[in-house]
């Protein structure tokens, strides 16, 4: 059974409206703090190809830097066009002050 929890960063190192990015194999995941909860979503826009961690983030939404589609960080939901497909989301937890996310490769 491969270890599926991956460390992201110390919980107290997160800034508002800025993602921490982890790469696991081919997958890039962006992790955000919203109030005192942590949310992990795919870092790659579902429209074309762009890194959402390079986009504008506000009020629990992340906006794609290319064509400005918005996604809900809590649910991964695509909120407006041109994106129509939701972002994959990943569970998070805090262990010894460090945010971890759950991801099973393969």
């Amino acid at each position: 059974m491969p270890e599926s929890w991956h460390p992201v960063a110390p919980a107290d190192s997160f800034e508002d409206d800025a993602a921490k990015v982890v790469q696991i194999g081919e997958t890039r995941i962006a992790v955000f703090r919203l109030e005192n909860d942590f949310f992990a979503v795919s870092d790659v826009c579902t429209h074309e190809y762009a890194l959402l961690s390079e986009g504008f983030c506000e009020n629990g939404k992340i906006e794609c830097p290319l064509h400005q589609a918005c996604f809900d960080i809590r649910t991964g939901k695509a909120l407006d066009e041109p994106a129509e497909v939701d972002l994959p989301t990943y569970p998070t937890r805090i262990e010894n002050g460090v945010v971890q996310l759950q991801f099973d490769a393969g």
Binding site: E48, G55, F56, E58, E63, C64, P65, P82
Partner: protein
Amino acid sequence: MRTVIVGAGQAGRRTAELLRGLDAEREILLIGEEAEPPYDRPPLSKEILLGEKQPPGLMQRAAGAYAEQRIELLLGCRVTGIDLAARRLDADDGERVPFDTLVLATGARARRLRIPGAEDPRVLTLRSMADARALGARLRPGLRLAVAGAGLIGLEVAASATKLGCLVTVLEAADRVMARCVPEATSALLDGWHREAGVALHLSCPLLSITPGEASLRLSTGLGDIEADLLLVAIGAVPNDELARQAGLPVEDGILVDESGRTSHAQVFAAGEVARIWRPALGQHVRYETWQVAQHQPVAVAHALCGAERPYDEIPWHWTNQYGRNIQLLGAHRAGLEWIARAEGDRQTVIGLDGDARVQGAVLIDNGRDATPLRRLIASGKQMERARLRDGSVALRQLC
């Protein structure tokens, strides 16, 4: 109720789909001259030339999606006339198509050069998928490609062709690249990228005539002769507004419409790049040649078709990708603005202020995250402090 949309491009597709979302009942017929179902054009000068068959930005829908949405799609069919009194279209196959409401989403075509030699088959333009395939099939290492026009499409083709190993020369009549839509500093930056990549960029150098030879084309320019194997003419677009003109609708380099996309005839609308849209804040009609207008102005049209007003009121925005860099252009780029640069490493934002220090436009280089705060700053009309704008450590949202 039957709505017919002429032009199965981006704006035609968007109008049809948005309309279906608002009205489950009505008949919707989308008629297009091209063989392909609707596609978005930005990849034509980028990924398609580089050999990608299905880049994600091209086809927004699977072929079956139209039937699923009960949008009737008639492809390979050119509409040749509109009879407004009889509410009927004529098509090139002799078909007569009745409508209750009509949307003209006929886009634009590439402007042709009117100089001797321009009819040679080695002189190409780029507007459609068929054009992109024809051009792409001829690009190969060592090919001498000349590009007339250093606008968005000319420069994107130059960048793509250089990447494929072509020897590219760009001829531009103005004294800088993309002079119509970016400030001087951005022209200089783009200029540098192209020269560094090996593009021979000739400014203030109009193409005067083409002498087709057996082996190559001889191009006479303001600065002497150039030999090329292929010439791409990228000198702008001309709106396909003839149908409207022949039907007696007001046309001025584009079909004149109000903020809801309505022409002077209450049952006829125009959507996308063919429309010249009334902008109350500017006190004039403006035509936009952007993905943005084709994507979002149909929202106004679809609502108006259903009797609801959703005026089109967007800050103009478009982008270009060259050499792996993304440049976004927001707002106005008229002369006389003062341009202030903010840089964070390779990311750069250049902000255009008017005489009252209000933000009017911006150029974002690999910095799309600044678009939303800048849109807010432009919309607010707030007077800015130059020192704070320049300071890259002050987030733009804090200035909103």
